[in-house]
């Protein structure tokens, strides 16, 4: 299916979500509260059938923290990108998609470890690479005077 057909189909799930044709993929922006429902629909619907989450990345946008999901359908070979953001930097919460795509379990742990985004209903949310006392290094306001040398 081409991107126009796909975006019309996705609009049927929810009329309010924002769909944009990116340079490479179709990009869907959803508020964090609607993420889990949309992800579920994208996977279960017969015509979209997005069963393969191939990349999950956390991003610090400056004011907001966000998560980007790259998903692909192994049946139809089409891909979309879902983006969600949360303005809360102290206690960011986003629904976990581990129950939809199992691979998210490790990817979400990595995002939690490096950006401090918490995932609701995650089965085992612990730090993955770093120790418990460490900060969240991929945040833009992370300061480490000992290990990071900045040249001016």
């Amino acid at each position: 299916m081409d991107n126009t057909g796909l975006s019309e189909l996705i609009r049927l799930f929810d009329e309010e979500i924002e769909i944009k044709e990116g340079k490479q993929f179709l990009e869907i922006s959803v508020p964090a509260s609607k993420l889990h429902r949309l992800a579920n629909q994208l996977k279960d619907n017969e015509n979209t059938c997005f069963d393969f989450l191939f990349c999950l990345s956390g991003v610090d946008y400056g004011n907001d923290l966000g998560v980007v999901y790259h998903i692909r359908s192994t049946k139809y070979n089409h891909s979309v990108v879902i983006k969600t953001r949360t303005p809360d930097r102290d206690n960011p919460m986003i629904d976990s998609v581990t129950d939809i795509w199992q691979t998210a379990e490790y990817h979400e742990r990595e995002v939690f470890d490096l950006l401090g985004i918490k995932f609701k209903n995650h089965p085992d949310l612990r730090r993955l690479f770093l120790s418990r006392s460490w900060g969240f290094p991929l945040r833009k306001d992370y300061v480490d005077n000992i290990n990071i040398v900045t040249k001016s």
């Binding site: 990116g22 340079k23 490479q24 993929f25 069963d51 393969f52 989450l53 191939f54 990349c55 990345s57 991003v59 610090d60 980007v68 790259h70 192994t74 070979n77 795509w101 199992q102 691979t103 379990e105 490790y106 990817h107 990595e110 490096l114 993955l128 690479f129 770093l130 290094p137 991929l138 990071i148 900045t150």
Partner: protein, 374 residues
């Protein structure tokens, strides 16, 4: 035996937890597995990672694009060339540069040589893990020949850093075609020896067949790619469904098996070596004349936006996700590493098997730990 176990209070019934690694020889790096056992049976495997976490993604945010290429070598060091290619392709796509045909063909040949040497090392160490020390000598002996080809053309043996945005660092060595052909002729003869030594071996088959079976649904849901996914029937070869470089002009088969056990994960790699040799065969005499690199600006700045590029490394799908804000440094770089996803199936496929099988299963996933930790 059971009576003895009752008397001494050890054996079948007792549950305990052991540490495997981070210095266990069969984990091939610093992977620590906390294994819960009941007797000899594995109940749960919990990987602990992060021993070689260098923060590559964070480092990338403060360096320029040509510099990033040299960091990607250090992730999956056995697919170093393909990792470099992924970043280069992404930068070239963002800048909308047309790459000369010569570069595309040379990159493809190099990538396939990389895949062959990676699978050779896999074969060598997998055999050694299961008790066949001869495999290790055979595998490394043949891998050395690929390394010599790399050394002559790239200067480096393992971490080649041969790609740069816009093409290649330097042209191929005048001997390159001759040596590659010699190697192919030699390896066509020695590859059947591999099969004679290990594939048909009864002990080897007993230890791998039916062990650690991964179903197709799990393979997709857990995001496994590469030989691990393809052994379960998951058609996930990026070279086929999203061809890059010169893969759209060569004929090759995607190796697929449907059993999904340790033995078939091994077979996929054996077949892939043959396919790689076929690909090189088709290209080696047809390297087009021309420039080996496009002239680039001294400072590379990507236009604002997001770019995603995936390539097929020896272990699966590597994705490079770059968010650029228009500066010479990327705003955010994410590497979707194949081993990271492949590691997550280790727990589900080794449940219910013996602790000795865990070595075989772990070996068949062919994990490279620096790629997981990044």
């Amino acid at each position: 035996m059971e009576e003895l176990a009752k008397k001494t209070g050890t054996g079948e019934q007792e549950e305990y937890t052991i540490n495997m690694g981070p210095q266990h020889p069969s984990t091939h790096g610093v992977l620590r597995l906390v294994v819960s056992l009941k007797g000899e049976i594995v109940k749960n495997v919990e990987p602990h990672i992060g021993y070689v976490h260098r923060g590559i993604e964070k480092m990338c945010e403060s360096i320029t694009y040509p510099q990033i290429i040299h960091l990607t070598d250090r992730m999956d060091y056995l697919s170093a060339h393909i990792n470099n290619e992924a970043v280069c392709l992404n930068v070239e796509k963002a800048l909308e540069i047309d790459i000369p045909d010569r570069v595309k063909v040379i990159r493809t040949i190099m990538a396939e040589l990389t895949r062959i040497q990676s699978h050779q090392l896999y074969w060598a160490t997998f055999g050694m893990d299961l008790g066949g020390l001869t495999c290790f000598f055979y595998g490394l002996r043949d891998r050395e020949k690929v390394m010599d080809i790399f050394e002559e053309t790239c200067g480096g043996r393992m971490l080649v850093s041969y790609n740069c945005p816009g093409g290649l660092m330097y042209d191929i060595h005048p001997n390159f075609q001759k040596r590659v052909k010699e190697f192919l002729k030699y390896f066509r003869k020695t590859l059947p020896e591999y099969d004679q030594l290990l594939t048909g071996n009864v002990i080897f088959r007993e230890r791998t067949k039916g062990i650690g079976r991964l179903s197709l649904n799990d393979a997709i849901s857990y995001g496994t790619t590469g030989p691990v996914g393809r052994a379960s029937g998951f058609s996930c070869d990026v070279r086929k469904y999203e061809p890059y470089s010169a893969y759209d002009r060569v004929n090759f088969n995607e190796v697929l098996f449907y059993d999904g056990d340790t033995f078939h994960r091994y077979l996929v790699r054996m077949e892939e070596m043959r396919e790689s040799m076929n690909i090189i065969d088709q290209l080696i005499d047809n390297i087009p004349e021309g420039e080996y690199a496009v002239k680039m600006k001294p400072v590379i700045k990507l236009p604002e936006g997001e770019y995603y590029q995936r390539v097929e490394t020896a272990r699966g799908e590597l994705g490079v996700y770059i968010i650029s804000d228009g500066n010479k440094n990327p705003y955010r770089v994410k590497f979707r590493s194949p081993n990271f996803a492949n590691l997550s199936v280790l727990n589900i496929i080794s449940k219910g098997f013996k602790i000795a099988d865990l070595v075989a299963i772990g070996g068949s996933l062919d994990l490279i730990i620096p790629d997981i930790d990044r």
